[in-house]
Subunit: 339 residues, 2 copies
């Protein structure tokens, strides 16, 4: 299993390339909750998402091993595509990204703007097949989105950096797509907690209508969704977690499944309170944090305020999702009134 030392090494590797993103808090929200919530804002990361960390670490690690490939390939319709394109450009390696034709124009454009070659395929399945074929060529390297040790370590640098910026955290919340961010968050947080001889809970979050990870944890085996779920949290649409990431997910202190309404509610509120663009996948963690605080408050009525860390995974939202998020006015319902 990976350890804090691996995340520390990744932090050294990616430091010259990625942003040190800010940790924000809202006094108004803290006042309402009676606890302090700190947000690690990866919306302000390169490519607008934590994914830049993993892709960059994987390539920097390959370079360290003197195994830097001649060409990088990947298949993705999401943030991973842009992250790979961007990271490949940092190491001056050509990249080819296979995307389904239904990918948004802006995502394809952004991927191209980092210098990658974008190949549009009729279906996601065709993209999957073509990337596998391409990866067979000598000197070609297929960078997967989450089931890769150095991707996990790269994503873990986000929680590590946040815990360095904001000590005394009691619990960390992160969303679960393929499990890369959550695995890295667990390894970093657990390592720091051990080092400091204290407890820091690590809690995962998933949309209720895309709850393959929660089901997998209940069944103790990896379960796969049969169809792409239509959740607002598009970073959590992944059909299943990975064989590597599942082993870390088993160690979490809690796992929440969140309704779409609560995802929309917290997307509006966090965008409003923090003044930073926050994608629904990230807002989902706030819904979980509120539920977790309620059980904690019930158990310990006289406790002192807790310090929570929420990993805001990114800020990439398409127009269709924005339209859905903002069709109802949730800002008239204050957090203490929402249930």
């Amino acid at each position: 299993m990976l350890t804090l030392a691996d995340i520390n090494a990744a932090q050294q590797r990616v430091a010259p390339y990625v942003h040190k993103t800010p940790v924000l808090t809202s006094h108004l929200l803290n006042q309402w909750l009676g606890h302090n919530v700190y947000f690690k804002v990866e919306s302000l990361q390169k490519v607008g998402a934590f994914k830049a960390r993993g892709a960059c670490n994987a390539l920097a690690w390959l370079k360290e091993q003197e195994q830097l490939p001649k060409h990088i390939v990947a298949n993705s319709s999401g943030n991973h595509a842009q992250a790979v394109a961007w990271a490949a450009a940092q190491f001056q390696i050509p990249a080819t990204i296979f995307m389904p034709t239904n990918v948004s124009k802006i995502k394809a454009q952004a991927t191209k703007s980092y210098g990658a070659n974008v190949v549009l395929c009729n279906t996601r399945q065709e993209a999957d097949e073509r990337v596998a074929d391409a990866a067979e060529q000598t000197g070609f390297y297929w960078l997967p989105p989450y089931n890769h040790e150095q991707i996990i370590c790269g994503q873990g640098t986000c929680a590590l950096e946040a815990l360095q910026q904001q000590p005394d955290i009691d619990a960390v919340f992160a969303p679960c797509g393929g499990g890369g961010l959550l695995s890295g968050t667990y390894i970093a947080t657990n390592g720091i907690a051990e080092q400091q001889h204290k407890q820091i809970k690590v809690i995962g979050v998933e949309p209720l209508i895309a709850n393959d990870a929660a089901c997998s944890l209940r069944e103790n085996k990896i379960m796969t969704l049969s169809d792409t779920p239509s959740t607002l949290a598009d970073g959590a649409k992944t059909l299943s977690v990975g064989s590597l990431t599942f082993e870390y997910l088993k160690k979490l202190d809690g796992f929440y499944e969140v309704e779409e309404r609560a995802i929309a509610y917290w997307t509006q509120w966090l965008n409003h309170l923090l003044k930073v663009r926050i994608e629904p996948t990230s807002a989902m963690s706030m819904a979980a944090a509120v539920r977790w605080l309620k059980t904690h408050d019930a158990a310990q009525a006289s406790s002192k305020p807790l310090n929570l860390l929420i990993i805001i995974s990114g800020g990439n939202i398409d127009q269709k999702t924005m339209q859905t998020i903002w069709q109802t006015d949730y800002l008239t319902t204050l957090p203490q009134e929402f249930s």
Copy 2:
């Protein structure tokens, strides 16, 4: 007339209270435009808007004059209300804000959360009358939103700070409501340009359907809109500019009137590119900048890239406006294709 020295003094005064906000840029946007655009992001300012600067400076100046009042009153349904409430709390003075009942719940709530007493009035007119009455009381001070020298100086600290953070700017763009931000921007920019013996253009922007300032400049007298216009740029709904601010507006190098469609277009794009919440009033300046660049490019085909500074006035947007902004997908139309 006010000078750079007055803005410098204001900067000293507000420094302990306000945030030094970041200047952001988008490499993708710069690549598309062939010029560099720098955004001074006051969305990340206290109360989510530049208004914190003016209110804070006015109170700090009163304190300096040993004329700090016993009670502050203001009438506003917008960012000024929150700014006054927040600033009064910094100087531990009670504040009463008169707001029309149709103000959004969230704005009233935010104003209260800074400790102000909020009085809801049936109409805007009633709010105007009641604040005037309240201000008659001994020790009470009515802080207006823009037509006040120390408010203008406070707002000017935003451009001053930005020009210190990002030297070599060729033109500055700011939106026009009552003209406080724009006047302060003009004074700061003009002062710095004189000091450095160079030219920096200062350009104002207004919604076409709320163009009282543009009409006033054409007629050379202050014109007043008969009704509150229904522009997306709610920070520019002010019915007329002030007697003080109008004198500075006359000195501007240009003034643009922007269509609602272009305001919505650039609100989507700037939110997308910068990953920060940007209100339509601020996005309006980008539409003007693009038009200004076109005339410049036509005049000087072989010129080197220009450096533009755009003052992003704030990040407060209600749900209704968000819904309108995001109902059409403008992200599929790249800036070079939009007209």
